[in-house]
Symmetry: C2
Subunit: 570 residues, 2 copies
């Protein structure tokens, strides 16, 4: 029982020196790698850069205790930072104390929501975010994040938050273009893109091992940060107008207590819910993918508790909403992390930086962070996936398209909610007009197939109608129409057999419709039969009077119905 | 084309004297019978009684032109009147001019919504009101209507509109009990109940024909109105405190133009939508039932246009929202109506009453109308249906129970919306955890059945997994879990065959999951096969790369897979 809620107890007793060495190395690498990212995502959320560091400390401890994935690394992530920024700027002005406070409340609420969902074992809720909706949302978010960074890259101040006004402002304020910032921003961007595209191959060509080449390629942002920080310091670029991070308070995060303010809590409830679900979906699918590679499993419901715990930890240590991050997890995994202790070692590393090295970050240009963010989110924009979805299913594509459009125009919340609503609506619409097929016997076999697709035997007084959907309220009337049309067009009919091999449910409304169909067919002297009714459906039908009232019989198979009801050919 | 939108053109050319005589008689009977009802439902909606007469005039003409049912009679009905009262009292005070104006706007909006739905052929939307939700809603509405009349029956003035406060007020104000009103109210109520229960049998015992006995039984409300009106006039009961209808303006309804007021329209939009849908569902199911008896069909989408037209007609002639009414339709049908012309004859009859006989209604006691309403709504409270639903399905029952509870406590709108939301949610939840079964061969046959329910042949290296649900985003991950658990518990597995006879849809999310399952099984050296994939599903799969990547094959039948993959028993 305790092990279920504290997975650390399952692996810590077996910990040994070999694992320790691997985790220590991974922890060190992660420390160096994720610092630029953590700072950048805090800035993306409109928060002071140091909040990104704070949010990488205690939350990492919480995940090490509670998480079921061996290699997932938690902290600030791009999408959640974007959503956090959108939510907070609705209730406070960036740069104010209210804004900081609201970030704590948002973390607290997300944490509480995740924990409640975990205790209620409601991990399944995440399934309602379909792949196309999530994919569309991530792509659109990528564009939104890129647009939010473009001002920082060019040294142009932009006030508007929405995509289109922001782009309009960009064009209008273009004369403000600041050349030194542009040099740093676009220079870093170009360097990072080149590293990403050609770094690994070039380094290998220089004779480095694959692993080291990988590592150095991934360290691109660290180089960019070092070089541009040194350059800014050396040439005094801050005085020439390059925006830098500036003074970061030195020391461990303060303990914070999110205040209670009913209006604020209410305003942040929906954003917190969406942040929780999106963070959970992203984190769990990443965790599952990595666990599968190692033949391990993670427990989605425990992950809810673990992510809840990390967000509560963030709320009480001046942080921001956190989740499992793709970049940091991949770095951690590839650096050879064996257990969540790697995350703890990284925590100590980042803690040391926060304690001693923040003055060194003073001259770090915001433009460099913007370049880091922009490059890391490019992978979110997944054009091949959009094209595949278009090819596979117009209905899935339309849910995706709506998600993208709403996210870009109306913001992240409208995007997710609209996409989920449309995909549920389309599913319901589809099931409300179920496919059904008249089937006939494939000569000489016991198989029955659609008369329109296959060459089959049929009998004019017998209709075998296969229903390709569960029967429930939304399609009950449609079933009635189908049967009545059938009877109206074939006056010689004597038997209608409903083949229920694909009927997984008959609800009370559908039962009423079956009753009505039975009575109506009886008036026309046509008998109603059922075939291939599944066990659970049959059990339920027996709890009603329908089977007693039905004019015909229930056959085990379509073949049995055929044998009994089709006259031998004369 | 014109005939499709004006069904009158299909039957009027064939009209003859025999039909005319039948329709004329039915029209006369309906005129007499529905007057008390029309007055009563207007009062139930908080409107002046005469509005009920107005709403029985031009709307009837509109339905005669546009409707596809031969016998449906439109006018004010109990449920719609209750919903109208609830909607209007949210925006205006009964008795004021604003309240009357709001009634016109509500009719206009319902009319417009119905016509838009009709033009978009959206009749299917009504299917989302499941039987249990509609049943629960009608039962709860019956209770609400009875509670709304109890004050009128006892002569106690009640101000509260909600059920519990109203009952509390009733207890508190009980000393105001007005004996003459009580005598009229309870007397009428008792008379009507006895007529309903024993009227037909007693009259037949007196030697009347069955048809005449039916007619006189149904005329109970007319007798009650005549007797109590005469008594009130004769004994001057109005001066002794019995509330009567009072002066009714004589003459045809004025032409009215519903005013445009953005706030009011917005406030009435959701109520109008619900009134439209509930009215449509009730009206169409009644129309279908009666059409079926005569081997005719009605067109739901044309009925939307027809009901839309009747509500617009009501909006422009000082009326209230209308719909097909159960009582008036049954009277019309049983009185022998052959075509919608019967409705037109009744319209002239009611028109004549409005022109000349309204002074005679002055002394009609409100208590009599309350008794009429109470008796006519008793049938709405359908306890056997509630019990059957409980027995058949807990899930359907819970949607019904929520609808009843919310309708009683929070009102009609909350009741419907809550019930629909819960029933959709339960359906989604159910499909998100689909039933699946390992199947085995029933020896000597080509049939495959659940290994847990039947005695079957199986092979340890082969798993035949039948999926009993369409595969879509909500259950894609659940499918993955099911297959992974299967593989984890059976290390000797070499082949997994997914039997898709009940899979009517594989959406993009499920396709991703199948891809993931295929890759994961491949890692464990297990091959993935499909069997019994339906035509439309196969067509769609061919538009993706999945079939190329799949390690195994697609079999036409489970038996083909079994023959190929199961080794012959040694």
């Amino acid at each position: 029982m305790l092990k279920r809620y504290l997975p650390i107890l399952t692996w810590l007793p077996h910990y040994n020196r070999r694992l320790g060495a691997a985790d220590l190395l991974a922890g060190f690498i992660v420390t160096v790698m994720v610092i630029p990212q953590s700072l950048a995502y805090a800035v993306l959320a409109g928060l002071p850069a140091v909040v990104g560091l704070y949010a990488s400390l205690l939350p990492a401890l919480a995940y090490a205790l509670l998480g079921t994935s061996r290699t997932l690394a938690v902290g600030p992530v791009a999408i959640i930072a974007l959503m956090t920024g959108a939510a907070l700027s609705g209730v406070a002005t960036p740069g104010t104390n209210e804004y900081l406070q609201a970030a704590l409340v948002l973390s607290l609420l997300s944490g509480a929501i995740l924990i409640i969902m975990g205790l209620l074992r409601m991990g399944f809720v995440a399934n309602f975010l379909s792949h196309p909706v999530i994919g569309g949302f991530l792509s659109a978010s990528g564009i939104l994040i890129a647009a939010s960074q473009i001002g920082h890259l060019l040294g142009i101040e932009l006030a508007a938050r929405e995509l289109l006004p922001r782009l309009a402002e960009l064009v209008q304020n273009f004369p403000q273009l600041h050349l030194p910032t542009l040099a740093i921003g676009l220079g870093s961007l170009l360097f990072l893109l080149l590293m990403r595209q050609f770094g690994r191959a070039s380094l290998r060509r220089l004779g480095l091992s694959g692993q080291l080449a990988d590592l150095l390629t991934r360290a691109g942002p660290v180089f960019a940060v070092l070089v541009t920080t040194l350059a800014t310091w050396h040439w005094g670029l801050e005085q020439r107008g390059v925006t830098v991070i500036g003074d970061i308070p030195q020391g461990l995060p303060p303990l914070t207590l999110p205040g209670f303010d009913a209006t604020l809590w209410q305003a942040l409830l929906v954003p917190a819910l969406l942040i929780s679900i999106v963070g959970f979906v992203e984190s769990v699918s990443m965790g599952q993918m990595l666990a599968a590679r190692r033949r391990e499993r993670i427990s989605p419901n425990q992950e809810l508790l673990a992510l809840g715990g990390t967000n509560l930890a963030a709320a009480f240590t001046a942080g921001m909403p956190v989740s499992g991050g793709l970049t940091r997890t991949v770095i951690n995994h590839d650096a050879g992390a064996q257990t969540p202790l790697a995350g703890l070692f990284a925590m100590f590393g980042i803690g040391a930086v926060t304690l001693f090295l923040t003055p060194a970050l003073h001259y770090l240009p915001i433009a460099t962070l913007a370049a880091t963010i922009t490059v890391s989110i490019i992978t979110l924009i997944d054009v091949p996936m959009i094209r595949q979805t278009w090819r596979y299913s117009r209905s899935d594509f339309s849910a995706m398209a709506l998600t993208i459009l709403l996210t870009l125009v109306e913001g992240v919340e409208a995007g997710i909610l609209g996409g989920v609503t449309l995909s549920i609506g389309l599913f319901l619409y589809r099931t409300s007009r179920p496919h059904s097929a008249l089937v006939g016997r494939i000569s000489g076999t016991e198989h029955f197939r659609n008369v329109e697709r296959h060459d089959t035997e049929t009998a004019s007084h017998l209709a075998l109608l296969r229903i390709d959907e569960s029967l429930y309220f939304a399609n009950a009337r449609y079933l009635e129409d189908t049967v009545y049309d059938l009877v109206a067009t074939r006056p010689e009919l004597e038997h209608v057999v409903l083949i229920c091999s694909a009927v997984n449910l008959i609800d009370a409304s559908a039962l009423e419709s079956l009753d009505a169909i039975n009575a109506r067919l009886n008036d026309s002297r046509v008998m109603l039969h059922l075939a291939e009714v599944k066990g659970p459906v049959m059990d339920q039908l027996k709890r009603s009077d329908f089977l007693d009232d039905m004019t015909g019989r229930v056959f085990l198979s379509s073949y049995a119905a055929w044998r009994e009801l089709s006259r031998p050919p004369e």
